[in-house]
Symmetry: C2
């Protein structure tokens, strides 16, 4: 893996904006000598904040006069912000100047703009958001995490093909196990879309392991878990909610009195390693799949560490050329179906 990769960064996006993106970029360049970064945003501001650096051509600044607000409507961003840092960063991918782009800006706008600028891959109807989650054994990739609220069985099938290809490319799992998210009640099992998607998956050449339930996501029985964006988003957010609640209760418990504080101090190494294992920053960087280019969405509240992880995810996808692989796989599945 010594191919040079260039990644454009929406420097103004996210809750932290340049305060997060610039230090993350500078730090990233120190550790990865094969990658070049393009900071996209207010040129004067960026130049001032970056100052002098020793990265030469590996760090460039590209001007964009506008910014997309975190709560801006996607349609408004699309129509009214043609020179936003987000849009220009995506344009650089379209023009082939960058191999991938990363933005911590608002998801809806990023999705709409990426779709408009880069266009969908042939035979892919909808883009999907995929991200890795921690699980007891390794990681589970889950999609769609919120790009599509109403999905047909065919959409779910396409998500499975795309997810499978992404995971085999970036996680080095040759034939990822695909699970379809469902609920465990007999007879009423699943709604109609899920039932039909099940048939499509079972008949395909994918490594389909059948239905999985919400708790299976964290057990590791599947490498890729497929659902529509409404269900996937609720599952993801609920999981985050539980993790935060437990961490809240733990902090509260250990800070009750001097005895519990002492216990907390002694237990610190174990608690710290637990926190590291489920640290959402390590999993930061969701991919927008199905586009003719690589776009990585960083969490809006990402810090430097988290944003740097999103950059390294972009690099991995660029190195393995995920969009071309997905394009080929989708075609292969269509060919097989028509045979």
């Amino acid at each position: 893996m010594t191919k040079a990769v260039t990644i454009s960064l929406d420097a103004m996006g996210g809750d932290g904006g340049i305060d997060v993106v610039i230090p993350a970029a500078l730090d990233y360049l120190k550790h990865d000598k094969e990658t070049s970064l393009i900071l996209v945003g207010q040129e004067a501001l960026l130049k001032e904040r970056v100052g002098s650096h020793g990265f030469g051509d590996r760090l460039k600044i590209h001007h964009a006069s506008q910014e997309v607000a975190m709560d801006e409507l996607p349609s408004k961003a699309l129509r009214g912000k043609k020179d936003s840092s987000m849009r220009v960063a995506i344009n650089l991918v379209k023009e082939g100047v960058a191999d991938a782009c990363v933005s911590a800006g608002n998801t809806g706008a990023l999705m709409a703009t990426s779709r408009f600028v880069l266009k969908m891959l042939p035979n892919v109807d909808r883009p999907a958001i995929i991200s890795a989650l921690p699980c007891i054994e390794g990681q589970t990739y889950m999609l769609d995490l919120g790009a599509n609220v109403d999905c047909t069985a065919e959409h779910l099938f396409q998500f499975a093909v795309m997810g499978s290809e992404l995971v085999s490319a970036v996680a080095d799992i040759p034939n990822p196990r695909i699970g379809l998210l469902n609920i465990g009640q007999e007879e009423i099992k699943g709604n109609e879309q899920v039932k039909s998607a099940h048939e499509l998956l079972a008949a395909s050449s994918l490594n389909y392991v059948g239905y999985v339930e919400g708790d299976d996501v964290y057990k590791g029985g599947a490498d890729v878990v497929v659902s529509d964006g409404f269900v996937g988003n609720v599952a993801l957010k609920s999981s985050e909610g539980v993790a935060k609640m437990i961490s809240h209760f733990m902090k509260e418990g250990f800070s009750k009195n001097w005895l519990t504080k002492l216990a907390g101090l002694i237990a610190m190494p174990v608690l710290r390693s637990l926190r590291r294992r489920i640290d959402p920053r390590r999993y930061n960087g969701a991919s927008l799949l199905g586009l003719r280019g690589i776009v990585i969405k960083s969490h809006g509240g990402a810090d430097e560490l988290a944003f740097a992880n999103a950059i390294s995810r972009a690099r991995k996808e660029a190195l393995t050329d995920v969009p071309s692989r997905i394009k080929a796989q989708v075609e292969a599945h269509l060919r097989r179906e028509s045979e």
Copy 2:
């Protein structure tokens, strides 16, 4: 609260069957002198296992010759198991012999049988499963947890009315805050059912606080969170999965070597109190709402403590006569709508 209540128990249901239900019942009777229990199942077996007890008429045995298997199809149980412990326990509620029933048997069969035997309340289209979940402040009740996979806006609205009434009855919250589960993307926010349900709720006299996201469930911003059964079930199961994963990592971390074991020993009181706070056994006992009678579903894998909690939930609902309250509320909302 000194009214006498009689509760029928499906003694053969659940993974543990009589090994859980009998000790849970005996223990429960010791602590609650106002409640009578009827154990429903194989008479000879139950008599032998219960042996002599000092509860007199407060503990009765009612014969039922069949059992519903945990993996039995609901339709098969309904047609072929007319003398199952589950069905007979529900019959006792129908006949007015018991004020409520508890079963740890399979959810689909319990739902189908309850609906067939007890019938729905007037103007309620679908039963819904509701349960309490721990949250940072107090508890959140969530419904539907899996009874209905495809719901209309009107169904979601009815769930809200029923959930509101249940919580005001058993949790002593006069005007519960109702949240509607949704995802946070702008513009594509929510599918059509959720959007229409939002309109219905906003126009109603319920204490509707608007959309909530998956992580809000555990923050405590709403007393009742409404969703369709597919989404609710996935949210619940995902949450369980995360909690189990964290507990697994914690055990692993503390058992690494003698130093971490020592740390675990010292941190034990705090960890134990954490475990107690999120212990699913404390929240055991989901209500099947919308029926003309009280049916409580205990977790299939419930132990004695968990099953006893389900009994005490049944008692609470019997004391406050939840079905009558729901009936009245549904009528009141219909009246208001037509005015």
